[in-house]
Symmetry: C2
Subunit: 201 residues, 2 copies
DNA sequence: TCCATAGCCATACACCGTATGGCTGACGCT
DNA sequence: AGCGTCAGCCATACGGTGTATGGCTATGGA
């Protein structure tokens, strides 16, 4: 019904948010404007508003779908310390793929408030494993997420020395600090001694 | 020389940045515009540019003077755990007084890169006290700052439950986590047993 | 006295988000 | 076949933004 004069097919929210994300990746949050986005889609700026309430809503859509599609490692039965590290690594990797997106997300934590998100479910599971008591889960997970978020921001924005090895060491320090910290929180849940390898294969 | 027609005295950088900070406090970073600021000072917008290169530079001035004026507790000889907590509390209090300012600062960590800032000097001193080896000071302090920054952002932006006691508990959790984490990092520097109270009074 | 210049301002440009309202053409219904 | 509805799109316009350009004016030094 009255498809764009310049394009063949009608717009879709999917197409809009995909292109918007690309613009953000290229030029940061500031690099995304409704007008540029429309130009990129070969469409009049006002056409976008038939698929999205406003710019803020568009950003919300982009961020929350990114949060929903977060790829985190499953429970592999390993010690919680290892799983916590794996979670942090995965989160970090995801964030680094779309820094501007996560930057906006970190400025608007309410977008990932939903406790059913895979991020929180995973974090809760690991913290339970670590022995964090149930009533403290919410608080502890919030604090941990705040920490990781802070680290990601610092890495994204700051010029942490260009040396990627140094960044790696910083990340390692952060993880060790968090892990020890959680151990300290829960009284005593030190890492179990690595079991003697069953010689197989 | 050709003072403003509408005002008596000439503008000063001091006056500009003070008013700008007030606007930020009232309406966030978005609430500060060169035009509003000029209106507030009863001056033409372009007059500002004789005292400041551009908006970004103005923000940089505001943030870095705030960082330089950070009021942190002095070395009182108490255990490093207590001093670390006191540092965090002070930082947190400062940040909460001007959330928008610190929000911008956290988006531009390069502004407080200077290792001679009181923030870093204090943090280094405490970490040395905690036994962090010299070559790790930079890394560790960066990580710790990232953590605190993450917490401040979460508290500022997120709707951490309105209950201030709950926020307080969250802060406490964060500090304990960090402290235990640092203890874990440095091998062994547990808190010294509190000396038996000399019964006085 | 004259001039350089600090301080200020008027105008203008390019950009932004978006309110308003109108066009077009596909669809369901009679 | 005729008609109305409405999704999709677009043209125009408004009020906001940062700031480049260039001109005015009063003051200090020479």
């Amino acid at each position: 019904m009255a498809v764009s004069a310049r394009r063949g097919a009608p717009l879709t929210l999917e197409e809009i948010s995909t292109t918007a994300l690309r613009l953000m990746d290229e030029g940061g949050v500031a690099g995304l404007s409704m007008r540029k986005l429309a130009a990129e889609l070969d469409v009049n700026p006002m056409s976008l508003y038939h698929h999205v309430d406003n710019k803020e809503a568009l950003l919300r859509v982009i961020c929350s779908t990114a949060a929903q599609r977060l790829e985190l490692p499953p429970d592999d039965g390993s010690p919680w310390q290892d799983q916590l590290r794996a979670l942090a690594v995965a989160y970090h990797r995801n964030a680094m793929e779309h820094p501007a997106l996560w930057s906006h997300l970190h400025d608007h934590p309410e977008i990932i408030q939903d406790r059913d998100l895979v991020l929180w479910r995973t974090l809760y599971r690991i913290l339970r494993l670590a022995g964090v008591p149930e009533p403290e889960l919410r608080r502890t997970s919030d604090v941990l997420h705040a920490f990781v978020m802070g680290f990601v921001i610092a890495e994204t924005k700051g010029h942490l020395p260009d040396d990627p090895e140094e960044v790696e060491r910083g990340f390692d320090t952060a993880i060790r600090l968090i892990t020890r910290g959680v151990e300290g929180l829960t009284g005593l849940s030190p890492r179990p001694p690595t079991p003697p390898r069953t010689s197989q294969g």
